[in-house]
């Protein structure tokens, strides 16, 4: 489909921009780019590793365009170099270790927020001016205004420190050995409750508002009026005629706010010491592990693009007008 190809082309372009950003950043900073990038490495890395690392990032003895190509080659073969802080691990290994935790966190929280938020938004819009809408809509907007940072800190303090209902951090109790034992799984679950609920809460407002506004924008449409005139029952009208159509802009809007979700996940992980990509990034920043930081950016950009592609596919599935105009 032409639509899909155009979108994929755009995503490749966006990824290139991120990679270019990574390439230019150390070279634009004052001082020797190599020093800027690898200053923290100090003597931690053996000379051969240092050489390989420099080559990966295009710091070869060649003019700039060739350096750029060398770097792109690394990126497109997904060679992200060695981690400075977590030496001797490669950046890939560090990221791969953290990825499952972030995926778990983000997917669970997003699904929860989406389910609750969308249904609430539909309900609020359908019964405009009713009590649920009058209270719920401004509440959702105000919830959106509360920074994820604040929600995380408050949740941490209230539920983990003051009430001591839930653990204060990490993905599982430090003394347990990882494995598929009920003990371990239980611990993981317990440690996931606060981060997941917190992250879900940060997104909830957004879903409610988006779906509500989307629905309201089309409630004046003729096919809704006609649907009522036809005597269609309320549920069918609300779901198949209103909500389904409202879903399209809502899905697109969701894809675009995904960046904020990553930001929220990042903050939540740091507050709860949850060993995902966000926490790893934080550690990398503290240690000025630039290979790790840059690799992280690429990975997160890739994740964003994939999520956007998924949203495109959902739209394609729902909207017959996009298939072969």
């Amino acid at each position: 489909m032409a639509f899909l190809l155009r979108r994929i082309g755009f995503y490749v372009a966006a990824f290139l921009v991120a990679a270019t950003f990574n390439f230019l950043l150390p070279r634009l900073m004052p001082g020797d780019p190599v020093d800027v990038m690898f200053a923290q490495a100090g003597t931690a890395l053996p000379p051969e590793s240092m050489e390989a690392l420099r080559a990966t990032f295009g710091f070869i003895d060649q003019p700039l365009p060739l350096q750029y190509l060398r770097y792109l080659a690394s990126v497109f073969t997904w060679d992200l170099g060695l981690s400075v802080k977590f030496h001797p691990l490669t950046v890939n290994e560090v990221l791969l270790r953290a990825l499952p935790w972030t995926l778990f966190l983000v997917l669970t929280a997003s699904f929860l927020a989406f389910a609750v938020g969308t249904l609430a938004g539909i309900h609020a819009a359908w019964r405009r001016g009713g009590r649920f809408d009058a209270v719920g809509a401004p509440a959702a907007v105000m919830l959106q205004a509360v920074p994820p940072l604040v929600i995380s800190l408050v949740a941490l303090y209230v539920f983990a420190i003051a009430l001591k209902w839930l653990p204060t951090g990490y993905a599982w109790a430090p003394l347990l050995d990882p494995g598929w034992t009920p003990e371990f799984v239980g611990s993981v679950a317990a440690h996931a409750v606060l981060p997941v609920l917190t992250l879900a809460l940060t997104q909830l407002g957004g879903y409610v508002v988006t779906m509500r506004n989307s629905m309201i924008n089309l409630l004046g449409e003729d096919y809704i009026t006609l649907g009522t005139a036809k005597g269609l029952d309320d549920r069918r009208l609300r779901m198949a005629y209103a909500a389904r159509n409202a879903l399209l802009p809502a899905v697109t809007s969701f894809a675009m706010t995904l960046g904020a979700v990553f930001g929220g996940a990042l903050v939540t992980e740091v507050v709860f010491n949850y060993p995902g990509l966000g926490y790893t990034l934080y550690q990398g920043i503290t240690a000025r592990d630039y290979p790790l930081i840059q690799g992280q950016l690429l990975l997160m950009t890739l994740a964003m693009l994939t999520a956007n592609l998924a949203a495109d596919l959902v739209c394609l599935a729902i909207d017959p007008r996009l298939r072969r105009a």
Binding site: G129, E221, D222, Y223, T225, L226, G227, T228, A229, K230, G231, L232, D233, R236, A240, Y241, R244, N245, I318, D319, P320, R321
Partner: protein, 267 residues
């Protein structure tokens, strides 16, 4: 003199804005006989669509029907509520709206939309639904195998025909048409109105025809009502109205049309 099919008496519709109720329609009364086409003409804002919506029970707050009565085939329309209201909808009275573009749900096939309609009115048998839907499409000149298509695959004129087919699905007694052809090309407009006339001849339904196009109205309607600022100022056959208007506004309205052809009597 046969009893009227639709009887509207002293209909009043108000809009609640800020601190007051603003009257949009004031004590409008008229009848529509069985098989008759009554037109409602007037400028934008005259209240003609408001009257139509009120009769079809389509108003939502902040619009309210605050007075008068509407009787359709013996049923007191304003007294219907809840499930009775839902079931009454479309059975005796159906609606064709202006914008053919948006009258159909863009995400469902035509077949699904017909099915929704039939199922909402107690017809569950899939085979019967398909049969009736196909028949309706044939009636408006569209091939039945196009039931599987989505609305965007049809041209504007064809979409309006689909909407008309849907309006006739339950063999209503009265069809309200609110500017049904305004968004279409002139040639298509003609065709559709001729088809509606033909269908009327066959099926015998009445039409309440809302438009601002006087020329169209004079050719298509048995009687015409002129609305001005929420009030019905004159009702009568178009020919008589042009020849001897009783209200100054009526005279102005008809005079504003250059070279109005002698209205044909609609068979």
């Amino acid at each position: 003199m046969t009893a009227p099919l639709l009887s509207v008496r002293d209909l009043c519709v108000d809009y609640a804005t800020g601190d007051q109720l603003v009257r949009a329609v004031h004590r409008v009364s008229f009848d529509v006989g069985p098989g008759e086409v009554l037109g409602l003409a007037g400028e934008s804002g005259s209240g003609k669509s408001t009257v139509a919506f009120a009769v079809a029970r389509l108003h939502r707050p902040p619009a309210f029907v605050t007075g008068g009565s509407v009787h359709l085939d013996g049923v007191e329309v304003m007294a219907l509520e809840g499930e009775a209201l839902r079931q009454w909808r479309w059975r005796d009275l159906s609606v064709v709206l202006q914008s053919a573009m948006n009258a159909l749900n863009p995400l469902l096939t035509i077949e699904a939309q017909f099915r929704d309609l039939f199922e909402a009115h107690g017809v569950r048998d899939r085979a019967e639904i398909r049969e009736r839907s196909a028949e309706l499409l044939r009636m408006v000149g569209i091939a039945p195998d196009r039931l599987r298509d989505h609305p965007h695959r049809f041209s504007g004129g064809m979409r309006q025909r689909l909407v008309i087919a849907m309006a006739l699905a339950l063999s209503p007694k009265l069809v309200i048409m609110d500017e049904p052809t305004t968004a279409l090309d002139v040639v298509v407009q003609r065709e559709i109105l001729e088809e509606v006339t033909e269908l009327r001849r066959r099926l015998g339904f009445s039409v309440l025809f809302i438009t601002h196009d006087l020329a169209l109205m004079s050719q298509f309607c048995d009687r015409v009502g002129i609305m001005l600022k929420g009030e019905l100022v004159e009702v009568g056959p178009p020919a008589a109205m042009i020849a001897a208007p009783r209200h100054p506004y009526t005279a102005k309205l008809w005079a504003s049309l250059p070279g109005l052809p002698a209205p044909e009597t609609v068979p």
